[in-house]
Amino acid sequence: MTEQGGVGGSAPRASTDPGGTEPGRPPFGKVIIQAIIQGNSVVVTVAAFAAAIVIGGLLIAFTDPVVLHAWSQFTAAPGNAFAQAWDSAAGAYAAMFEGAIINPHTVASALQYNSISAAFQTGSVSAIFDPLSETAVNATPLIFAGLSVALAFRAGLFNIGGTSQFIGGALLATWLGFGVPLPLVLHAIVVLIGAFAGGAAIGWVVGALKAWTGAHEVIVTIMLNYVMIYLLSWLLGTSAMQRPGRADLITPFIDGNAQLPHLAGPSLRINASFLIALAAAAGVWWLLQRSTIGFEFRSVGANPRAARTAGMSVTGSWVLVMTIAGGLAGLAASAVVQGTDHTLTFQSYGTYGIDAITVALLGRARPLGTVLAALLFGALHAGGVAMQGLTQTPVDIVTVIQALIVMFIAAPPLVRAMFRLRGARAAGPEQALAKGWNG
């Protein structure tokens, strides 16, 4: 009996209730995501990334007309076929690296100046750091939105609603930004708080609906995404929000006082929002690991029944965690509106809400992991733009690589088999028996 993997404690109940459903069993999707987040080691994550890069390389090579032409003459010149394929993929990745991390040409041109001050004045020093700046700028909204998904997930909730919470934050922040004149510093802070509050309000609706009516958060968040997208589209067309003299959906620029300061001069886009994102990650870590609220979140996420039995309010935790998660997704809007674009358009929300799920999964729902995953995705985006400009490889390949990473992360047995890693669960069912042997 109890030798069977520790189910013995509930054995008689299960037997006396032949037709009944087993209570407290989490839904299938949640089990899978839990397995992805807890079952994957860092090694698997890195291996998945490597596998995605290799397959992405093959895709780059074999969609390149030059390569395809070389392969059509494979029998005549097999060496050329391989060389062309290698050149195509390597060239694309090199361009990506130059766009995301560092470009040797910019270093070389900066070194041509005799004095350091001359190099600074011509802007060639800042050109060296432009790729890194772009990576950070691209990563910032993903850090916020990824933290939002990760935090909710630690409390057992699946937040698909990054898009709606982003829009909620963006609308309030932008309106405060151009509509309310305030002094320097204060204005930026008010707009920042507005972004958090706007997202938090949408998150609160999700949490409250789940807590009080039992509505599933996945359904509610997806539906709210549509609601907010159409709300955005309507509001951007009203006189209250639309920039005067424009026919397209765009708001006025926000006040200079409301913009977040650049960190490294006006020619680099990196701004204070990146530091706020890092601070938010530290804050989420503290909340989860060092506070009573986070203890509740984690308890509710790991075993809601035990949390309730220990006197915690499970529904209260749901409402609170969705409010905070919504606020974090709202801050992603601040990164865009206050940090880079200084205006809000119908395209501003982009794919942050969906990418955030990938980022949180890749980061294993932990704050540090989320930051690293967001930086990786930021680099892929920044590099992808450069790659498209330099080689003829379309930027969409970045999306493909992202998708491949997620697929490999989600299929750890495949990755383990490919890289011959010994999995933690290699023992399979026998291990369950062995575990039960302890009693």
Binding site: G8, S291, K435, W437
Partner: protein, 539 residues
């Protein structure tokens, strides 16, 4: 058919679950396999039933070596198994269930229901199983479902029947029925392997008792062996079978349920107009077959389930509308029925589970900041105080054995100053050593003036602990008795006060109450006087 296991060894990594086990089951023998949870009984039976392959050793049937790659092989060789979790389709009839997979057909492939039904009826009559072939399984009580499983094995011509902890889910009356059936099967020449950790049942039915400890056979005894001899073999040291306790000195009423009605998940009353008082310094035991409202009562007491009608008072204060947290703060301790589902967060370290219901209070929290140092030092001292066997206080609680997990809950709940302790099935699935420990701690709480309410479906436990026994049936208390009450009387109360076959659903004709006393006749060797936890008060 003579069954022999020779030198069966099964390892899981570094663990040796079965270490060169030899076992011989003669035809027409009831062979009991006695051992604590985790001793390796189930692993051995999984080997025999083809669910696991042994690393060493062989299985012989009538002297011929056989290899079972799957349960199908074992079934083909005449081995049948009744699992603890029944493998039945609730919405099918008995006949449909037992013929599933071995359907009786007639030309050109039509189901021969008539023949199937006839076979089920014949088997049922031959062994006195009293199962109606046309009853739907979902309408049958657990005891009858078990008999359906037995018919299933018999229909597949099982000569050796493995019964894995078959009595865990049965009432005393149903257990006696099962034993009668087992004797009939034995008379029919079939052998039975009876797996149990309950000494008295093993003594009552077995022809030979093989005791397994830590994967090895530690002895073979005739059923005349005393309970304490078997228990010490099982545990590996002399065991205190009786809980030592002074007579209770009850004080004022602490917990007062007055006309309590509690709805179940469907809104039907599960607890009906129940009144019960628990005094300081006494243990009240609630006996009863599972599913008679005990779970709902517990949840209502702790505040996990709203009270429909009536009042609940703690030291005279109405707590019926209080939240769980308020009740816990008011001095209520709760040991839930299902420790892995309700009691513990398995992924959390031991330390976190020890503070799971006090984390928000001083000294563990300042504002919303947790004081991890304080959490850790409290955990370290509790772990040593309660003898929790764990590698560290940071080890995930799910890696602990059942007994140690229960100690974590105990350390958390009685580590606070309590007014009342509600403990539901506090020793379910635990080994003898842990049961001893849990019982001692519970009695200790009583002696410190805590009002204790124990809910248990194990009569042994009720007898061992309770100063008063309340029997629950269909949401009501059918009687409150002193612990000197004979088992037969409790058996009657457990099936409704009038003792008739009330509430027996279709499919059985066995009167439930009348035979109960046969099994629970105290063992003469152990018995001294009637508070009748007959000798081996632990299972």
């Amino acid at each position: 058919m003579k069954l022999e296991l020779r030198g069966i060894t099964k390892r899981f990594g570094s663990l040796v679950a079965n270490d060169h086990i030899d076992l011989t089951v003669a035809p027409g023998q009831i062979h009991a396999l006695l051992g604590e949870n985790g001793a390796g009984k189930t692993t051995l039976m999984n080997v025999l039933y083809g669910l696991t392959r042994p690393d060493e050793g062989e299985i012989l049937l009538d002297g011929q070596a056989r290899e079972f790659r799957s349960p199908a092989d074992a079934i083909g060789a005449g081995i049948g198994m009744v699992h603890q979790h029944f493998m039945l389709v609730p919405v099918f009839t008995v006949t449909e269930n037992v013929t599933l997979g071995v359907e009786r057909t007639r030309w050109p492939g039509l189901l021969d229901r008539r023949r199937a039904r006839r076979e089920v009826r014949e088997l049922s009559q031959r062994y006195g199983l009293n199962v109606n072939p046309d009853a739907y399984v979902e309408n049958l009580p657990v005891g009858v479902q078990q008999r359906v499983e037995i018919i299933k094995a018999l229909l597949r011509e099982a000569n050796v029947l493995i019964l894995d902890e078959p009595t865990a889910v049965l009432t005393p009356g149903e257990t006696e029925d099962l034993f009668r059936i087992m004797r009939e099967l034995k008379a029919g020449g079939r052998s039975i392997i009876f797996i149990s950790h309950k000494l008295r049942e093993v003594q009552a039915i077995a022809d030979t008792i093989t005791v397994i400890r830590r994967g090895s056979v530690v002895g073979q005894r005739p059923p005349t062996a005393t309970g304490s001899e078997l228990a010490s073999l099982m545990v590996g040291r002399p065991v205190e079978l009786r809980v030592h306790k002074e007579p209770a000195r009850p004080g004022a009423v602490v917990l007062d349920a007055d006309g309590l009605t509690v709805p179940d998940d469907q809104g039907n009353p599960a607890v009906k107009d129940l009144s019960l008082q628990v005094h300081a310094g006494e243990i009240v035991g609630i006996a009863g077959v599972q599913g008679n409202g005990q779970t709902e009562l517990c949840e209502a007491l702790v505040g996990l389930r709203p009270v429909g009608a009536g009042r609940l008072r703690l030291d005279g204060d109405d707590i019926s509308r209080q939240t769980t947290r308020q009740r816990l703060a008011g001095g209520m301790g709760y040991i839930p029925e299902d420790r892995t589902e309700d009691g513990l967060v398995g992924d959390f370290p031991v330390a976190d589970n020890i503070i799971l219901d006090v984390y928000h209070r001083a000294p563990y929290a300042r504002g919303i900041a947790l004081d991890l140092g304080q959490v850790d030092s409290t955990a370290v001292s509790r772990v040593s105080e309660f003898d929790i066997r764990t590698t560290s206080v940071q080890a995930p609680t799910s890696t602990l054995s059942g007994g140690n997990q229960q100690k974590v809950i105990l350390a958390r709940e009685i580590g606070r100053d309590l007014r009342v302790l509600v403990a539901s099935q506090p020793t379910r699935g635990l080994d003898v050593g842990s049961i001893e420990f849990v019982h001692r701690r519970i009695v200790e709480q009583r002696d410190q003036g805590v009002a204790v309410l124990i809910i248990s479906s194990e009569l042994d436990e009720i007898y061992a602990l309770a100063d008063r026994i309340a029997v629950m049936y269909e949401g009501r208390i059918t009687g409150i008795r002193p612990p000197t009450v004979p088992v037969a009387e409790l058996g009657l109360l457990m099936t409704g006060a009038d003792g008739g076959p009330a509430g027996e659903p279709a499919g059985t004709e066995a009167p439930a109450g009348t035979e109960a006393q046969q099994l629970y006749v105290p063992q003469p060797a152990e018995q001294e006087a009637p508070p009748a936890p007959p000798g081996d008060g632990h299972d």
